[in-house]
C-alpha cells in the first residue's frame, strides 16, 4: 500500500546560512557515514570473496583485498569449469545452468511486469475515467483485496496451478500476479484521476474514442508513475523466492533466487564454496543494480505515499 507518488521532494537547500562547525552536525554526519558503510560494505565483501580462491579465503580471512585474485568463482557459477576442476577449487561440481536460470528470471519478471501493469492500468482507467454502474462497489471489492496478505493465497494458488497442470512451468510462476494486484490498480487510479479532464475533453472533441484516449493521452501522461511502478514490480518479481520455490521443481522453470538456494544446498564435503556462491550471488543481483542505476533518480524521488489510510 505504500510506494511511489510523483510529488517533487521539496526545494533543497533553503537554509544556506553560515555553516559553522557544530558538534551535533559532525555527529550527524558521522552517523550518516556509518549507515552508508554498513549499507555498502557487504557488497564489497561479495566482490572480494567472489574474486578469491576458497583456499585463499581459508588462509587469509581478514585480507580486505581478494585473496589469490582469480575469476574461478565466476567460472564455476557460470558453469564454465569442468566438474573435476570445480571440485579441485572447492566447488560442488554439480551442473549449474546459470544462463538458463537467468533467462527464466528475465522471462518470468518481464511477463509479470508487462501484463500486470498493462491490465492494472486498463482497470484503473475504467475506475477513474469511465462511467458505469456499480463502479465504486467493484472498486471497493478490489480494495478489500489489499487486506489479504499474499502469503495466505499461496497454498490455495499452488493447488490451483497444480490442477491447471502448470506446475514446473514459467507460466505457472507468473500466472497469479500476471493480471493485477490491488495495489497496482489502486495506485494507477490515483494518478489517472489527477490528469486534468480538459486534456481528455480536447481529445474527445478531436474525435478520439475512449480507447484512443487511453493509449494516446492517459498512458503517456502517466508515464512517470507507470515507469516507477514497473521497475518496482520487476524488482519484486525478480527477487521472489517463496512462490517459485513452490511451483518449480526442475531446471526448466528454475529462476535465479531458487537456483542460488540450490547452489548453497549443494555444499561440497570440504565446506561451503563461498567463492563460487558469492560470485553467483553477485551475478544474480547485478541486473537489478543495473536496472536501478538507470532509473534511480526517478524512483528515489517518487517513493512516497498514495493517499490510502
Amino acid at each position: 500500500m505504500a510506494a511511489v507518488t510523483t510529488t517533487t521532494t521539496g526545494a533543497p537547500g533553503i537554509r544556506p546560512k553560515r555553516r559553522r562547525f557544530s558538534f551535533g552536525r559532525a555527529a550527524a554526519w558521522t552517523g550518516m557515514g556509518l549507515i552508508v558503510l554498513i549499507t555498502l560494505l557487504p557488497f564489497y565483501w561479495i566482490l572480494r570473496t567472489a574474486l578469491s580462491t576458497n583456499a585463499g579465503l581459508g588462509a587469509d580471512p581478514t585480507n580486505p583485498l581478494p585473496a589469490d585474485l582469480t575469476t574461478s568463482g565466476f567460472e564455476r557459477a557460470l558453469g564454465l569449469q569442468s566438474a573435476e576442476e570445480a571440485v579441485a577449487q572447492g566447488g560442488a561440481g554439480g551442473g549449474l545452468d546459470f544462463w538458463r536460470y537467468l533467462l527464466n528470471s528475465v522471462l518470468v519478471s518481464t511477463l509479470i511486469t508487462g501484463c500486470q501493469i498493462f491490465f492494472s492500468a486498463m482497470a484503473a482507467y475504467a475506475f477513474a475515467r469511465l462511467r458505469w454502474r456499480g463502479r465504486d462497489k467493484v472498486f471497493g471489492l478490489f480494495l478489500a483485496g489489499l487486506m489479504v496478505p499474499t502469503i495466505f493465497t499461496l497454498l490455495p494458488n499452488f493447488v490451483l496451478i497444480k490442477q491447471l497442470q502448470l506446475v514446473d512451468t514459467l507460466l505457472g510462476i507468473a500466472l497469479p500476479t500476471m493480471f493485477m494486484t490491488p495495489f497496482a490498480v489502486f495506485f494507477l487510479r490515483q494518478f489517472f484521476m489527477n490528469i486534468p479532464r480538459e486534456v481528455e475533453e480536447a481529445a474527445l472533441l478531436d474525435g478520439a474514442g475512449k480507447i484512443k484516449i487511453f493509449f494516446r493521452v492517459i498512458l503517456p501522461m502517466a508515464s512517470t508513475p507507470i515507469i516507477t511502478l514497473s521497475v518496482l514490480t520487476y524488482i519484486t518479481s525478480w527477487n521472489d523466492y517463496f512462490w517459485p520455490l513452490m511451483v518449480s521443481y526442475s531446471d526448466s522453470s528454475r529462476v535465479l533466487t531458487v537456483a542460488l538456494a540450490v547452489f548453497r544446498a549443494q555444499t561440497p564435503a570440504t565446506g561451503v564454496d563461498w567463492s563460487g556462491l558469492m560470485a553467483a550471488t553477485l551475478i544474480a543481483a547485478l541486473p537489478m543494480l543495473g536496472l536501478f542505476a538507470c532509473f534511480a533518480r526517478r524512483i528515489v524521488s517518487s517513493i512516497g505515499f498514495t493517499g490510502i489510510k
Binding site: G13, W45, V138, R197, I303
Partner: protein, 317 residues
C-alpha cells in the same frame, strides 16, 4: 480503510457536446461506458476472482479438510484447529515469529526514522537516498547468503573482527539464542532503506517554516524532533508500521537459506512450519488451518494498530 480522494467530481463536462463525435454510437455512450468498461476491467477482474478471491475462500475451506494433493479433500470439521491448539511446535513457531517481529520491527523502525530525519535535516542528496535503497534491490535470498558468509563462525569477517577486538567467536546462525536476532537484523539491513524513504516522503510534507520558527525560538534539534517531527509524522508512521509488521510476520526466505528452521526449531518461524507441513508432510489441510490463524493474527494486529495510532487522522490540517 478508505480512499482519501473520492471518485472524480461529477462535472460531467461536455456531455452535451458528445454528439459532436459523429461516428461511435453517441446515443449509447451518453449514459455511460458500460460495455467499454467491461472490456477494460475484464483481465484484472479475471485475475482478481481466480487468483485472489477464490484462493482466499478455498484456503479457508481447505483448513476444514484433510488434503494431501493426491486424493480429494475430505471434510474433517475442526480437527485441524484442535490439532493446532494442541501442537507445541505450532505455539513455539508462533513465539519465535513474534520474537522475530518484535526485534525486526523495533530496530528497523527506529533506524529508519533516524535515517529519514538525517536525510531530511542534513542533506537532500538523492545520491545518499539511492545508496540507502540499494540493499532493497537484493533478494532476501541474496541478503541471507551474504550475511551467512560474513557471520560464518570460522571464516566470516564479522567473527574475525569480533576476535580481533578480543571477544569469543559467536556462532550467530548456529546458536539457539543468537539465530533469531541475527535473522531479524539481516532483514533490517535489507528493508531499512525502503522504510526510511517512505518516512522521508512523510517528512517532506512537514512545512519547513515550522523548523525555522522553532529555531528562532531557540529550540534544539532534539526538541524539534519530539515537538514537530514526531507528532506530524504520526499518521505516516502508523501506516508504515502496519505495513512492515504485516510483511515481517511473513518471514520465510531468509530462514530458508540461512538456518532452515534450526537449530532445534529455534528459527522455525510460522511460515516455515506451514511450508514444511504442506510440502514436506503433505498436510495441506493442517497447513491451511495455520495460515488462517496467521491471517486472523494479522487482521487483529492491523485493526489494533490502526486504533491505537489513530492512523486516519492527521495533525497537519
Amino acid at each position: 480503510m478508505t480512499v482519501a480522494s473520492s471518485s472524480p467530481p461529477s462535472r460531467l463536462p461536455l456531455t452535451g457536446a458528445e454528439p459532436l463525435v459523429p461516428t461511435k454510437g453517441a446515443k449509447a455512450r451518453a449514459r455511460g461506458d458500460g460495455a467499454l468498461a467491461a472490456v477494460f476491467i475484464a483481465p484484472a477482474m479475471l485475475g482478481f476472482l481466480v487468483f485472489l478471491c477464490w484462493p482466499t475462500i478455498r484456503g479457508i475451506w481447505l483448513s476444514f479438510t484433510r488434503f494431501n494433493l493426491l486424493t480429494p479433500a475430505e471434510w474433517v470439521g475442526l480437527d485441524n484447529y484442535i490439532r493446532m491448539v494442541n501442537d507445541p511446535i505450532f505455539w513455539s513457531s508462533l513465539g519465535v515469529t513474534v520474537e522475530y517481529v518484535v526485534i525486526n520491527i523495533g530496530v528497523q523502525t527506529v533506524s529508519a526514522l533516524a535515517i529519514a530525519v538525517l536525510l531530511q535535516r542534513l542533506t537532500q542528496s538523492s545520491l545518499l537516498r539511492g545508496i540507502v535503497l540499494t540493499p532493497y534491490l537484493m533478494s532476501n535470498v541474496v541478503a541471507g547468503l551474504v550475511w551467512l558468509w560474513i557471520l560464518d563462525t570460522q571464516l566470516g569477517i564479522g567473527n574475525e573482527i569480533i576476535t580481533a577486538i578480543g571477544f569469543d567467536r559467536i556462532p550467530f546462525l548456529a546458536d539457539e539464542t543468537w539465530a533469531i536476532p541475527t535473522i531479524a537484523l539481516i532483514n533490517v539491513w535489507r528493508h531499512v532503506g525502503y522504510t526510511a524513504l517512505l518516512l522521508f516522503a512523510g517528512l517532506q510534507a512537514i512545512p519547513n517554516d515550522m523548523y525555522e520558527a522553532a529555531k528562532v525560538d531557540g529550540a534544539s534539534e532534539w526538541r524539534m524532533f519530539w515537538r514537530i517531527t514526531m507528532p506530524l509524522l504520526r499518521p505516516v508512521l502508523a501506516v508504515v508500521l502496519i505495513m512492515t509488521v504485516i510483511g515481517s510476520f511473513q518471514v520465510f526466505d531468509t530462514v530458508a537459506v540461512t538456518t532452515a528452521g534450526g537449530p532445534a526449531n529455534a528459527t522455525n518461524v510460522l511460515q516455515y512450519y506451514i511450508y514444511g507441513s504442506a510440502f514436506g508432510r503433505f498436510q495441506f489441510g493442517y497447513a491451511s488451518a495455520m495460515s488462517v490463524a496467521l491471517l486472523v493474527v494479522l487482521s487483529a494486529i492491523t485493526v489494533l494498530q490502526y486504533r491505537l495510532t489513530r492512523a486516519g487522522q492527521s495533525d497537519l490540517g
